[in-house]
């Protein structure tokens, strides 16, 4: 069950030609998630800073 499905690291990237799709989707998903997390964190920080200044 936990055996590496590919013979080498290059093969894992290439995936018989399907790698490009898999890794593009992977990067889109991860970057969307990360972008949302970071932007919300930033927005919250900004509001907190503003509130602190007004106090």
């Amino acid at each position: 069950m936990f055996s590496f499905a590919f013979n080498s690291f290059e093969e894992a990237i290439y995936m018989n030609g399907h790698g490009i799709y898999v890794w593009i989707v992977f990067s889109i998903v991860i970057s969307c998630l990360a972008a949302f997390f970071i932007s919300y964190k930033n927005k919250i920080q900004k509001i907190k800073k503003k509130l602190n200044e007004s106090n």
């Binding site: 069950m1 936990f2 055996s3 590496f4 499905a5 590919f6 894992a12 995936m15 018989n16 030609g17 399907h18 790698g19 799709y21 898999v22 593009i24 989707v25 992977f26 889109i28 998903v29 969307c32 998630l33 949302f36 997390f37 919300y40 964190k41 927005k43 919250i44 509001i47 907190k48 509130l51 602190n52 106090n55």
Partner: protein
């Protein structure tokens, strides 16, 4: 009775404190599950017999498409809660969920479309599922732009919740009609719905990735609702103590 109960437990203040308490646990646990399942799924499961390696997109696509609809359902419940019991927190949640839902639907669309290239030989197929996801995406965009076009928050909340409810009624209709419509075309040779009985080594990481993604999306909803609360309640005295 119910009204009193909800108002007591759904105060933004209590909510915010509870969120802050549980957020790190949910975040780290789901991050670990998600990372683990993705590594397992993308690198360690055996190749699919029919689709080859492109099937690995399933671990990214299915969680997103699963959640794109669940988030809408959650919004519909929040809308009903808001319109019936006037719970402010529910209104914050609706507009907090909308962009997250739009993002999830976008991810589901893009991943499905990229998956289509190696499997169907085309990046866009007017398949029932894809079409209804596209419509769902348009609905999310409509919701966000509706809320953004009003400066009076309360008015925007009310209109938004009406639209969400109308949309929620519409979703099954769209699904049904699109299913029905796509039978006209020749059906895709490989559909996402009926898979041959899936191998456990492919199945467990799928479950893991769904749970992990679910947890991460919950975290996103939590911080975006926190953001909403901070915007909307910034004049309240407890916020000043809180900050």
């Amino acid at each position: 009775m119910i009204k009193k109960f909800i108002h007591q437990f759904a105060s933004p203040k209590t909510y915010l404190f509870q969120v802050n308490r549980f957020y790190p646990y949910i975040f780290y646990i789901s991050l670990i599950i998600y990372t683990f399942s993705l590594i397992w799924g993308l690198l360690f499961t055996p190749q699919d017999f029919v689709q080859g390696n492109s099937f690995r997109i399933i671990y990214l696509h299915v969680p997103a498409s699963f959640l794109s609809q669940s988030l809408y359902v959650a919004m519909a419940f929040a809308s009903i809660t808001y319109l019936v019991w006037r719970v402010k927190l529910a209104a914050y949640l609706i507009i907090a969920i909308a962009p997250v839902g739009a993002m999830t639907t976008f991810v589901a669309l893009i991943s499905g479309s990229l998956w289509g290239i190696p499997t169907w030989g085309t990046w866009w197929q007017w398949d029932a599922r894809i079409t209804s996801t596209l419509i769902l995406f348009i609905m999310y965009l409509g919701l966000i732009s509706l809320h953004n076009s009003f400066s009076n928050y309360e008015k925007a909340d009310k209109l938004l919740s009406w639209l969400v409810i109308v949309g929620a009624v519409n979703i099954p209709i769209i699904k049904k009609s699109v299913d029905w419509w796509s039978t006209l075309h020749q059906s895709a040779s490989i559909t996402l719905t009926d898979k041959p009985s899936i191998d456990p080594s492919m199945f467990y990481p799928l479950i893991g990735s769904i749970i992990g993604f679910f947890g991460l999306i919950i975290c996103l909803v939590l911080i975006s609702s926190k953001h909403q609360i901070l915007i909307r309640e910034k004049t309240k005295s407890w916020i000043k103590d809180y900050v």
